[in-house]
Structure formats: C-alpha cells, structure tokens
C-alpha cells in the first residue's frame, strides 16, 4: 500500500473530528436540564392516576378516554388511585387543573421533541392575563 502513514493518519484525524462533539460533551457539559413543570394553578394535588403513571402513560390514558367517549359512549372514569369518578374530557377535566398549557404540556413536549395534535381541534384554555 502506498502512503500508509498518510492514509492512517488521515483516518485518525477524521474519526477524532467526527466524534469530537461526543468527546466535548462527555468531558465538559452538564446533563441536560429536565423541564420544570408548572403545578396546577388551582392548587389541586390529586390527578386521576398517580403521578409516575401519568408521566409515563398519559398519552395512552388519553387515547383510551378518546375511544371510550367517542366510540363507546362511556364518559365516567373510575380512578384507580383515589376511587373518585372523573369526566373523561381533555378540556373539562385535564385542563381544568392544568390550565397552564404552555408551562405544563408544551414545556415537556418541546423538551421531548414530540408534537401531539390534540390542539389542532381541542380548544386550549385562554392564558390568564
């Protein structure tokens, strides 16, 4: 092989340059800041399900609610967390407490780079002036 030194040297430089952002981050950057979610403005402390479940699976819960209300005509949700019954409604139940959509829904969705289409149709509450 001709010019072995040049080729291997070039390859090493190339790999180092390509992976430099990884090295740089591993050595210097602090872990990305987790989004801080706003508490419900109305002071409610109790969600329809435990907090950890809601954090992980609220999208599944909302899909179930949607199918139950629209397709099965079922509108009451019996909470497993506290035995209360909730109206299965995004705008009436969820947003009744989490009326701060920008500081609650959007902040985390932006962080996770997800773009749910709930708000294409469902009307978001007016931000308190």
């Amino acid at each position: 092989m001709y010019d072995t030194g040049k080729i291997v040297g070039g390859l090493v430089i190339f790999v180092v340059l390509m992976t430099s952002p990884l090295w740089y981050n591993a050595l210097t950057a602090a872990p990305a800041e987790a989004p801080k979610l706003d508490q419900p403005p109305n002071g409610s402390k109790e969600c329809v399900e435990p907090r950890d479940y809601m954090r992980a699976y609220h999208m599944d819960l909302l899909n179930e609610w949607r199918d139950d209300v629209v397709r099965n005509g079922k509108r009451d949700y019996a909470s497993t967390a506290n035995g209360r019954t909730f109206d299965m409604s995004l705008t009436r139940t969820c947003l009744d407490c989490h009326s701060n959509k920008a500081e609650f829904c959007d902040r985390c969705h932006t962080y996770m780079a997800v773009d749910p289409y709930c708000w294409d149709c469902h009307v978001e509450p007016k931000e308190a002036p």
Partner: protein, 286 residues
Amino acid sequence: MDASRRNFLKIAGLSLVGAAGGSAVIARGTEPAGAASGHGSDQPRTGPRLAMVIDLRKFGRDDELLKRCISACHEAHNVPDFGDDRKNEIKWIWTEEFEAAFHSEAFHYLRADLQGKPTLLLCNHCDNPPCTRVCPTQATWKRESDGIVMMDWHRCIGCRYCIVACPYGSRSFNWTDPRPHIASPNPAFPTRMRGVVEKCTFCEERLARGRQPACVEVCTNDEIVFGDLNDPESKVRQLLAERLAIRRKPGLGTEPEVYYIVEDPRTLIEVAPAAVVSDAVENDHA
C-alpha cells in the same frame, strides 16, 4: 348425447331453475341483520331510536327562532362562519326553501303558506345511513344504542365518500382551517381541523349529560320535538300519530329520522271558535 335442440332446452331450463333456487338461498343467507334499535325491519324493536319532529306549522317565514336554532347549534359546536363563501360553507343546521328541501316530492300547486318557506334542515340520522357504509375508516357509524349517526373526527381521513353518499347534503368538508372563522370558540367542544368532514351529531355530547339538543332547547313551544321513536308514550310518537309528517326523499330507503309536520297551521287552533280560526288563517297565509 346428441346436441339436439330439445336436449339443449332441457339443460337450459334445468340450469335456470337451479340458478334461481341458488340465488334465493344466497339472498336469504345475506339478508341484512337489521338494526336492533331500528324500524323498517322485522327485528324486534329494542332500545331507543332517537328522532326529531320539526313542526313547520309553528315556524314563521322570517322567524327569529330559525336564527336562534342555528346560532345555538353553531356556537355550541364551534361551526365556522364563512359568510357568503359557499364553497367553504360548513353546515350543521341550515335552512332551504320548502320546495327545495322536498324537491323529490315535486309539489304542484303547493299550499301558499309552504311556498318558499324557510325549512330547517340537518342530518337526518338515517336508520339506514348510506354515509356510514362507504367510510373506509369507520370514522362515521350508526350508534346501535340510540341510532345516532356518529362522527369520530379523530379518525376521519377526509376522503369525502360520505359527502357523496349522503343524499341530503348534510355533510361538509373543511377545505381550510376553520379556527380563524370561529368568532369565539366554545372551549367545551372541539373545533375541527382542515381535511375533516363534519355534520350534526344530534348533540350526543349534550344528551350524555341529560340535556336536549341545542336547537330543541331554544324552542319554547315544541317547535322542534326530540325523543325516542320506539317509546309509544314519547312526544315524537304522539305527534306522528296525530299529525301528517313527511320526511326528505323517503323513496331512497335511507329511513331518515327527521320528520316535518306539514299540516295547515289552522290545525294548531282547531279547537278554537270558528271566528278565531278564520282570523288566524288570514294571518298565516298573508
């Protein structure tokens, strides 16, 4: 076997008989099951079958009530207002002249008070809805529990087959984003997005909370009556039993469930003294 004319005719005859018998069996096998809650089928009637009776006797020509019915519905359901832009128009409940609404009846020498009379139209929530049969995603279907022809706007892909299938023009397509054309969105009800078909849902979201449909609620004098067609005691059944009511395009077999009482307005005061009746007639036919 010699291929004589006689043998040919024998075989042809036998084949015909066989084919006729076979198709009869097939026809029996595939007979539509019929909605349990519906009518017009031999199935026993179980459960409610919601229907609406619009008493045309009680609506005037230039009635504020027409506008109130329409605006109550449109405000409750975030129906956009496109003004005179007919291409984008979204219709849940609207008016047409009586002859246009019932053009299939080909009325001739129509009673004067019905000529050109604005008539409220809405989705007929057919018992045999053609729109639901063509929906490729089951975004629209007839609810078996009460016969409402439902819409699932989450599922609609905007193919518009249902618009073609509906013989009443009750379905509208969102060609553009409707949001900018809704004056003050009702947060309790979703809007629709571009590319989705929408129509009247008999206010199923209000019925679920024990309320009457929005257009019925603004009627204080039973101008529109809503109820269960399978309940002989219901107001709709009593009205239909007592009064002549017609439906739009009944010949198509869709079994529309919005009825229009077309009797003479004089029947409203038929128990009154003759003098009152003749006065009222003059007013009504003016």
